[in-house]
Structure formats: C-alpha cells, structure tokens
C-alpha cells in the first residue's frame, strides 16, 4: 500500500470507528454482514490491508446502518 493510501486508511478507519461507537453497532452483526469473523474484522481495522476495497465496503455498510 502506498503512502497516500496509508493516510486514507487512517482516515477511513477512524470514520468507521466513530460510526461504530456513535451508533453503538453490534460487532457480531457487523462481522456477519462483512462476511468475516470478529477477529478478522479487528485485524482489518487494526492493520492496513492491501485490499483497500474492504475499507470502502465497511464504510458503506456502516454509513447505511
């Protein structure tokens, strides 16, 4: 992942976390909708994933929650 996406990763991750806390989102439910188990979801949030589409998908799911 290049530097520009590093910054974007931090931005999108923070926005996702904000929505999760603000809307008090059930992580089990979010994991299922994202098609992954909880630990994978945490991994995706905590470590930059080279497949950036997963963040765009997560952000979309959260915006529509």
């Amino acid at each position: 992942m290049n530097d520009n996406l590093n910054e974007l990763y931090i931005q999108i991750r923070n926005e996702c976390l904000q929505i999760i806390f603000k809307k008090n989102i059930d992580i089990d439910e979010l994991s299922f909708r994202m098609g992954m188990n909880q630990s994978t979801l945490y991994q995706v949030l905590n470590n930059k994933n080279e497949d950036f589409s997963i963040y765009l998908k997560l952000y979309e799911v959260l915006l529509g929650w």
């Binding site: 974007l8 931005q11 994202m34 098609g35 188990n37 765009l56 998908k57 979309e60 915006l63």
Partner: protein, 444 residues
Amino acid sequence: MSGKEYYYTLFKEYIEKQVKSTQEQLKGLEYNIRIRKIYKELQSKNSNKFIEYYGVLSQISEYIKDNLDVIDFLVKNNITSAPQMREAIENILADKDLLQLISFTESKELLEGKIQKLTSILDGTCDFEILKNALLDSDLNDECVIGILDAEAEKTVKPEKKKLPSLDNNNAINKEVMSKYNETIKKINKLVTRYYHLIQNKPSNLIEMYRKTLMGTNMKEINEVYQEKDVLVCLHILHLIDLKTEGEEVLNIKPVDYSLLEINIEELESAYEDATLIVEKYEKEQQEMVPQESTMYFLLDENNKLLFNLDSFSEDERRSISSILSDLEMGLFDYERNKSNHTIVKQSIRKDLNVFVNRKRNVAVSYIRINSEELEGSKVLVLSIEDIKKIFATSQSILRSNSKLVDDSISKVKENTEEYNALQASIKDEIDSSFQREEVTHHE
C-alpha cells in the same frame, strides 16, 4: 412525445423551479445583507440610527417594534440618558430574530453563479459537467437521469460542425483520430451509463473516499488486489469518467493537440478493457445471487464422508439448519429482502469462488453456487454447516486445506454422473433422517 423528450420536459420543469427558488433565495439574501449593514450601524448604539431605520426594523418583530417605540418616545422627550434607553437598545441588538437574519452564510455571488448555471442549462449553452451535476442533484428518478445522460452522451459523440477542430493539411490523420475517439467514447458512455446507478445511489462522503482511493493508487494494483466486485466496478466507472473529462479538456483547447488526444484514446481503451473484465466478474456474482431452485450437493472427503457432524448440533439448531437447506433448495431465499441473513465470505482464500453464507438464529450454512450453460438448473455445493461465529473460519479453512477437494467436487457436480448423484442422494437421506430422528424424539 418520446421517452427522451418527456425526460427533458421533466428536467426543464425541475430547472425552472430551481431558478425560481434560487431567485427567491437571492432576494431574501439581499434583504439579509441590508439588515446586516444596518445592524453594523446600530452597534454604535446611537439612538438616532434606531429611529432612522424604524421602518425596516419594526417589521422584523413586534418585540423590536415595542423597543423602538420606547427609543422613539425617549428621543422625542429628550430623555436619552434614561436607563430604559440603554435597555431598549440592548434588547434590539440581542434580539434572536434579528441575529438570525444577519447570521447567514450564503454568498450572493454563489447564488448568482448558480442562477447563471441553471439558466445556461435552460438555454442549452452549459457544459456537460454542469448539466450532469444538476441532474445528479435533482429529484428526478434514475430512469430519467440515465435517459438524459445517455442522450447527452450521444450528443458528445456526434461531431457538431461548429465544434470540429479546424482541419489543416493533416486533416486526414486528424479525422481518423477523431473518428477513433468518437468510437471509443461511444462504447465507454454505454458502459458508464449502464453502471452509473451504482455510484449515484451512494452517499457523497463514500464517493469522496472512492475518489481519494483512485488518487492514491493505480488501476493495475486495484485489479490485482481488490476483491469487492461492486467496489471495483464503481472505481472503474469513476476512472473512466475522469479519463473522459481529460479527453474533453484536450478537445476544448484550440487548436486541438491530436497527439494528446491519441494518448487519451489509448488510456481510455485500456481502461475500458480492464473495466469490462471487472464488470463480467461482477455480473457473474450478481447472477449467482438470483434466488432460484437448486439441487443440493455436499462437499465430501476422500472417504465420502461429510466435513461436518450434524450430531454436534442441538435440536433447535438442527431445525434451523433444516430450514436453511430447505429454503436454499426451493429457491425461497430472497437475497435482497433477507440480506441481513445472507452474506458473502470476504477476504476469501479463493478469489475465483464466491462462498455464500446463509444463517438462521445461531447456525449458518456456507456454500458455493455452480451455474453453467451446460448444466440443467442451478446447483449448490454445501461446504460447511457451523455455529455462526465459526462459519467464516471453517469455510476459509476448507478452502485453504481442501482446495483440490472443492475443485474435484465442482467437477463431479458438473459431470453429473449417476454414481456421484447416487452417492449424494444417500448423503441427503442420511441428513434428512437425522432431522427426522430429532422430530421423532421431539414428538415422543
């Protein structure tokens, strides 16, 4: 009236309404600007200023009028030093209605610019970008928006005489480049129009993230690494739109630099090819998600045994499993309406296979859909039945450790041999009897 004429009529009516409301907004803003100027003068707290603007200020509210009357009375009676004077002045300056009027953030220039843009749409002199933005901001339905975008896109590929570049001695070559450009744009417009709804329905902050992603990476990396197919389609469509805009900019600068245009055509062609491949994968996934009656198969190990153990589930869980399998078999699982009970395994080990998961209560079934033109009807290959919290890890583990087994099973399903079908029938009997056994136990 043709469909497109009707769309244009609706759009025209919408724009006319927008012009009218913006003009009214502007009128309101001019009033607010005047009040703000007056307010600045009032801040000197000179009682004569309040009397001077009595007419305008008294119309804002009864409360302001009452206070103005106090000031007027005190001025006329030459008792301007009375504490009531200061109080009345402070009351007016702190009045909420008045403060609201002067706390606007709109700009007169912006509104005038907006009216100018809207008017240019009505008289047909606007740029495509202005028209496109107005359309996307409109309350018109998708069909209407796409219809107009389509018609406008057609216009851009029809060379208008007045817009044609002046042709010199190289006119034959330039004509050829233009012809190629028009040809490329035509097919790109078709693709963009077809998938534009995927972008249009997304929130603007999400689209902003898409654009930033495009800026931060290249399409090669996107194609190789990104797995979310709908996200990929959106990125490709946005990329095509950006490239198209670059081409339009080349054409807008006279005399046209045809060598630059040729580079743009090459980029567009390459982007179109990439986008077409992605769109095919996206369509395949969409097709797999169409609910349909399916023949059920189960993934078996080398000893023809199931990879999961039904005995480990409780009675309630078995009922849920039976219900999921039955819905899947009968094509009753509506992916759209019940999408909260259906998902696709993300970050899959096998990028070439979509693994779907359907759930009921705390259990879930993961499966692959097998559709091909040679096959009669739809087939489903069940990979695993598991507790909902374990289903993703188990499915990924199967794809990782038993990848060949999965491929072999898909081949066997496609081959449709009597032997394999008989084996699967016996497995299904085994599963059914397991459910029935529970029911009998339950009834006893």
